[in-house]
């Protein structure tokens, strides 16, 4: 559900293949702690679009860019999801996740920067290992 007071919606374009709001992580953008319990994702000036009226089919997409840092920390609580009909298996743990970001929409002179990462919160987060599709056996 999109909130009624939403003024922006930032994401990468859907790829021609249908791949949904997914972009490659450049070298050095993803760091995993030696114990595997912390994942840090940092990317700068990622080309995205602003589609305030998403998911309306005629929602205009305005070029924008996003810089962000996201950190997952495992809580250690085990999680296991499997769905044979959809051919996936995930084994991992619950996690805490926090985000800081800034976005720019140059054509309309808009920019926005979040407060420090410690002030954000995600109600749901998991991290672990997954197999799906041809790797699901």
């Amino acid at each position: 559900m999109v909130p009624a007071n939403q003024t922006h919606d930032f994401h990468p374009p859907i790829a021609p293949s249908g791949l949904y709001w997914v972009v490659p992580v450049p070298a050095g953008g993803l760091n995993i702690s030696p114990d595997g319990n912390t994942i840090t994702l940092e990317m700068r000036n990622v080309p995205i679009v602003d589609q305030p009226r998403w998911p309306s089919l005629d929602s205009i997409a305005t070029p924008a860019r996003m810089t962000f840092k996201m950190v997952w920390k495992s809580t250690g609580q085990p999680v296991f999801y499997e769905n044979a009909s959809r051919q996936f298996r995930f084994k991992g743990t619950r996690a805490q996740c926090q985000l800081e970001a800034q976005v720019e929409v140059p054509s309309i002179g808009f920019s926005w920067k979040s407060d420090a990462i410690g002030t954000s919160r995600a109600d749901f987060a998991v991290m672990g290992e997954e197999v799906n599709g041809r790797y699901y056996v």
Partner: protein, 129 residues
Amino acid sequence: MTSVPGSCPLCNRRRFLKSFAWAATAFVAGERSSGQQAAGETANGGTEPYPIPWLDKNGSHNQPAGPDLEPSHIYHFKGRVARCSTFTGMGTDNNGNRIAFGSPTTDYGVMQGDYWAARTTQHGAFTHI
């Protein structure tokens, strides 16, 4: 009935087959030029990952985040994944306005490992943002 020297049903059929073979050759040549396939290259498809096949309520290959839902946005995938959703936070725009971010569908994910594309195993890291 007028007889045409050299004409017979078999001859006509052979002429047709020759024409067909020529047409097929032309068709293949046309395919190559429109596909921009350069000499010496393979034609195994791109190395971009496949999306998850299932569609969400909006008709997209999107995977909502949550308990018992698939964390990856890449199909034919094997590796590390992290997922989160329902973000809340605050920020400030360039005019000094305080604007909140996040909603129940504000979700992110990262996938690192092997995936299948171009008819073989690829390796990479991707994020859903």
